[in-house]
């Protein structure tokens, strides 16, 4: 078994782990902007819900960072 450069593994971990949350945050942002465009009077409520969802999706990327920085 050939030795793999740990930097490569770390880069792949952070890169592959960022794809899913990035798509998720993008979808949330797109939906929130679309919803504000349709009815701007409830902008505050929509943004509050969007931030909750961003927090939920962000946690996935936090797990990636957690694994990345704590593996030895």
């Amino acid at each position: 078994m050939q030795e793999v450069d740990p930097a490569l593994i770390k880069g792949l971990t952070i890169g592959l782990g960022a794809i899913g949350p990035a798509i998720g945050v993008g979808l949330i942002g797109a939906s929130a902007v679309g919803a504000i465009g349709r009815n701007p009077e409830i902008q505050g409520k929509i943004l509050a819900n969007a931030f909750i969802m961003v927090g939920l999706v962000d946690a996935v990327f936090a797990f990636v960072l957690l694994i990345l920085f704590t593996t030895s």
């Binding site: 030795e3 793999v4 740990p6 593994i9 770390k10 509050a48 931030f51 909750i52 961003v54 927090g55 939920l56 962000d58 946690a59 990327f61 936090a62 797990f63 990636v64 960072l65 957690l66 920085f69 704590t70 593996t71 030895s72």
Partner: protein, 266 residues
């Protein structure tokens, strides 16, 4: 073989024990958690003492406005039911304020650098999985005890196994729901821990990578961390509130006859 670059610099996952107090090993996160709890409690007690109908104290005014804001958010979550919102308000706002203070306390200078017996004396309370698990256990125990007291043991059982017990589908869905309850505990604790701990590890990593320019490179990450601290505290409170709402609202449509036609039509 995976070697870490920052393993030496970041705090270890398990908090080191500082000293033994009776039968209890006291870790650095416990010390800082108790300290933050005392600070938050004393600020609120001072504000409550100074509170009056025409507030002259600026601190009391700001904290009253803040409490009112959180109150309106919780009433919205409970669907305008003010009585139930007021009943659960103390737990929810304590969770929010305490988690927010602990998240932000990890960013203060001197938190990782002041050492005692070779270990850092302070460590943010929420960067320790034990403490977030304890808070999630507290929140979910409250949810279940409240559900038991509100809808009774039978309604609580019906909440998981709704439908006839002879059908295997009911059993399957019920077991899935039970697993979901355990997963709630895991996600609620791991989310808070992972985000805050990962954020602090990211801060250390960025500072090491930037070298001499760490003061500039760490600044945007610091703002991200402040934002994340608010979002996570808000999320913990809101998830607890929505679990409280969900725990008792599930059994209601079957019992109330006026809801039946609307459900059948849709």
């Amino acid at each position: 073989m995976l070697q870490t670059y920052f393993g030496e610099a970041t705090a270890p996952l398990a908090p080191p024990t500082l000293f033994i107090f009776g039968p209890l090993p006291v870790t650095n996160s416990m010390v800082y958690g108790v300290l933050m709890a005392a600070i938050v409690l004393s600020i609120f007690v001072i504000a409550a003492r100074a509170s009056q109908l025409w507030p002259k104290s600026r601190l009391a005014f700001w904290l009253e406005s803040f409490t009112d804001l959180v109150m309106s958010m919780i009433i919205d979550t409970f669907g305008g039911d003010r009585r139930r919102a007021v009943k659960h308000f103390p737990l929810l706002i304590s969770l929010f304020v305490f988690i927010l203070a602990c998240n932000l306390s990890g960013l203060l200078p001197g938190v990782g650098s002041i050492t005692y017996n070779g270990a850092s004396l302070f460590r943010a309370w929420t960067t320790d999985l034990n403490s977030t698990l304890a808070m999630a256990t507290l929140a979910l125990l409250t949810v279940h005890i409240y559900a038991l007291s509100e809808i009774g043991a039978r309604g609580y059982f019906k909440h998981f196994f709704s439908g006839s017990l002879k059908s295997p589908l009911t059993i399957f869905i019920g077991i899935n729901e039970l697993i979901g309850e355990v997963l709630r505990l895991v996600t609620l604790s791991l989310r808070l821990f992972g985000v805050i701990y990962g954020g602090e590890a990211l801060l250390v990593a960025i500072e090491i990578l930037a070298g001499n320019f760490s003061w500039a490179a760490a600044l945007p990450i610091m703002f991200l961390e402040i934002f994340v601290a608010f979002v996570q505290a808000y999320l913990f409170m809101m998830l607890t509130a929505s679990y409280l709402v969900m725990a008792v609202s599930h059994g209601e449509p079957e019992s109330s006859p006026e809801m039946q036609p609307a459900a059948a039509r849709s």
